[in-house]
Every structure is written in C-alpha cells, then in structure tokens.
Subunit: 290 residues, 2 copies
C-alpha cells in the first residue's frame, strides 16, 4: 500500500473540519481563486547532476503553472521559498530561470523567502483566477464521458532515463528539462465546456491520472493503448513515466466535440478500476514514500 | 553586511518586473487578500531536542498567523507542505497541533503536500482577507508618528536560552513554545485607523522591526528603553531577541488615541536610523545567512 495515502488518511482523521484532500488545487470560491502549493526537494524531485539552477527554477515553475492550468484557472501570481546552501551565483541563475518563465506566462512574482539549509528545497505557491471559467475536479468523471488527452506520454521519463545513462542534449532530454505546457487547450476546456469535467496533468504518469480520476469519481475507465499520443514505444514509460504534464481529461461527449485538438483515448464506464486494452491494470505510479 | 539583503538585491536586479521585496505579506488588491509564505527548517528554526511535533506545528502556524495579523488582514486559509522522515506517529501529532491551532483562530486548511526528505521542513502559505480594513506597510511611518507596541519583548528569547541551559517548563519556556498572538488589538488597528501606518511583529526582534520601518520609511525612530513592555531585564534579549511576535506599530497621533491598550515606546522623527535613549543603535538582528 502506498504510504502517502495512509498519511492522508491519518491527516483526514485528525482534522476536525477540512475538505482539502482531493485535487491538486484548492478553490477559494468567494474570490474565484485557485491555489496550489508544492515542495521540490534536491535528490528527490531534481538533481544538480542533471540540471543547472536556471533549468531547475524553470521546471519548478512550469510544474506549478501546469497544476493551475489543469484546474481550469488562469495562472496569475506566484510565491517562491528557497532553502539551501545559497550563494550569489546560484541565486542569480535561479531567479533568471524563474523570471524568464513567469514572464512568458504573464505571471507576477509577489513574495517568497530565503533560508539557509543543507539541501536545496523549493517551495512554490501559485494562484490562478477562475472567474467565468468551469473548474475541474477529479470527482467529476461520469459514465459515457470521453477520456481525452494531449501531448506525448513517456517522453519526459525517457529523457530522464537517457540523462541517467549519460546521454546529452537529445530530444527527450530537452523535453524532460523543459516540458511544454498546454495553456491554450486547457483554457479552451475551462471556458467552453458546459458540464462538469475532470482534468489532471500526468505529473505522476498517465496511469496515475486515470487511477485518481477513476477512484475519486467512482467509475471504470477504459483506455485503448494505441490511441495514446506518444513518441516512444515503451509501455512502462508511456503509462507510468511521470513529469510529462500532459492534460488528461474526462468530459462529456458534447463538450468533447467543442474542443478542437483533443485526442480521444478511451471512455468512462460504470464500475471500478482502470483498464488498458480491456485488461485491468494495478496501481504502480510514482510512490513518494516507498 | 547581511547576506539576505545582498541576495534580495540580486533577485531584485534579476527580475524584469516585481514589487515583492518589501513586506512580509503580499497584497492581492483585486481580491483584498493578503498572502504570506514561510519555510521553517529543522535545526535552523526549530529543534526536536526542545519541542514535540505537536508544539512545532502549533508554533509554525502561530508564526504565520501573526504575519497576517500584523498586515492588518484577518487570517482565513492555510496550506501546509511537510517534507521529512515522516511516519504515522509524527503525522498524527503534527496535524493535531495544526488542527487545534487553526480551529482556535477559525482558519481553514485548504491544501498541502507531503514529501520524503532527510530533515524536516515545513512550508506554510497563509491567506487573510482585508476587505474594509486598513492594511499596513513598513514604508508608512511618518515624522511625528507614535511608535507603539504591545506584549513583552525578550520573553521568547529568554525561554530559548533557558531551554538551551537545560531548564524545563518555566514561564519563559512556555512563552517561547506557545507565544500569545495579538488578534484583537491588530484587528482594532486595521479597522479603526484612518491614516497609513506601519506594523510588524517582532519575529526577528524589536530592534529589527524598528530598523526595517526606519529604513523603508526613510525616517528616524527614537525609542525610550524604559517604556518597552518586558518581563526581563536583559537589554540584549529585549532589543534583539526574536520570536516574540509582539506587534510594533508606527501610527499617527490621532489613530494612536483611538486604540485602547497600545503602549507608546517612542516617536518618529525626520532623519535616519534607530535611536534608543538618544543613542544610535546598529543592526544586530538575527542574520539568517551569517
């Protein structure tokens, strides 16, 4: 069993009142603000062996922008906390990567803090606005919904594998270091859909998205492997490789028809579990605590 | 020179556009939300030698609530990220401390994440609402303003000293572990003042507050040592001891008269620097990076 789930159960039992243990983003409905926080730790989420401070900052920010995009909101503000053995050179490169990335997405840095520590950890809080937008929840999948996706699954995991094998600067390594985000299509989904929908990014792999949506929505999800957009032919990486940040969406047939560019990879059925090519697949996603 | 200031200068030079390098809180004026983030690291900000997981959680939350209170906002939502060698017992105690504290202040936990790491780090984001409230900025002090304070300066630092000397369970140790917050008086200041004012808590010591306000507002601050509320007679701890979270406020004479319970400790003058009993005092506050 996955330790993180156990811990979340303990937390949920301990709290008198809370409804936070669901989606990656919390929604402040009074303000129409989505908010997400994330902590990235050296040698757990990234390594200086493979990436420069500039690249680490860029990716840390991209990961968090993606969380907001798949919530259905528009990213607006970011706060960054940095702990580590900080020096001038690191700070300069890191904030250059940060600056270039938030500028591209028109996001404003509004706060943060710096702390001394042995290892680098990056803590990010990001806020997005969802005025006049339909927001997603992984509880929203329903029978007969379409399972859709965009991007290329497994490319980032392939890049990490290549890095670990000592390769340099190929297509997949570039993809791993600087994953593309899906700003336009997620924005279309949030503004054009009329029915509730579920959307996640494949930060922990495609299968993890399907599994989370299936269990939170209490539905069966059937995917056809051949329909999954991908550039590699490695089932393990395509299904379980993380850090792609490709949107995975369950939405109504009507809504699906409205959104150009979405690729249908499966359907939602009554029942439980995730089926790939009619075979039930078990949870093997990235497990933080095992 | 203080390293943190150097780093902030580099960051500010690197960013194309940002206005974040001032107060502890960022203000989202469109939503009337104040937001603050903070990262607490094992053996830098707290130690398991002196405090239980319950106490560490409680204090981490109190510190952040105080940031919102002295901004002038009302704390509403909190997000917690936890990294460390987490186990069931730790999680249970930590979240119990968290739960009891946020319940007391009517704050809702809306998100967070758990990550494996060698040392514990706690990353907190807290949001407060400032609709119909006058918010503070350390740039707001003006000539002829009153310098006011409440609480007891130096008690927390005395408690930490006692802990390090092997003492147990005295008044100051309790104060250090569970510092009182000043919810009512900060709320009065935010709702009753008409003019701009500067308010900080003494998380890094009374002198640090005076120094920050003096340099950001470009004014001289004169304090009379005897007027400072305190329960100990140790000038070093009273002026430079941190973790008290006592509000230090510079406000207009008119506004000062409206707020019952504020103690006048000095005045704001034209000029530069912080003077205690007419003697200029240099910066010796807690320096994270030295």
């Amino acid at each position: 069993m996955n330790k993180e789930f156990e811990f979340l159960k303990i937390i949920s039992d301990t709290l008198t009142s809370s409804s936070y243990l669901g989606d990656d983003c919390a929604y402040l409905d009074e303000y129409k603000l989505a908010i997400s926080k994330d902590c990235l730790i050296e040698n757990v989420h990234f390594s200086f062996n493979f990436m420069t401070p500039y690249e680490i900052a860029r990716k840390a920010v991209l990961v968090n922008i993606s969380d907001i995009l798949v919530s259905g909101a528009k990213p607006k503000y970011i706060l960054i906390g940095l702990s580590g053995k900080l020096d001038e050179k690191f700070i300069k490169e890191f904030y250059q990567g940060l600056n270039d990335t938030i500028e591209k997405y028109n996001i404003k840095l509004i706060g943060g803090d710096l702390t001394k520590a042995d290892k680098l950890s990056i803590s990010i809080t990001i806020l997005g606005d969802y005025k006049n937008r339909n927001i997603s929840s992984r509880k929203n999948a329903k029978k007969d919904y379409i399972v859709a996706a965009v991007g290329e699954f497994g490319s980032s995991a392939k890049g990490l594998e290549d890095l670990k094998n000592g390769l340099k600067d190929n297509y997949f390594i570039e993809y791993h270091k600087n994953p593309p985000l899906f700003e336009k299509i997620t924005s279309k989904i949030a503004t054009l859909t009329k029915n509730p929908y579920a959307m996640m990014d494949s930060s922990d792999g495609l299968f993890d998205c399907l599994y989370q949506i299936s269990s939170k929505s209490n539905v069966r999800i059937d995917v056809n492997y051949d329909l999954i957009p991908k550039k590699i032919d490695n089932k393990n990486l395509v299904l379980f490789g993380g850090e792609d940040y490709c949107p995975v969406i369950c939405l109504s047939v009507d809504d699906f028809k409205k959104i150009k560019g979405l690729i249908k990879i499966g359907v939602v059925k009554e029942g439980k579990g995730v089926y790939i090519d009619n075979k039930k697949v078990d949870y093997r996603g990235f497990k933080h605590f095992e």
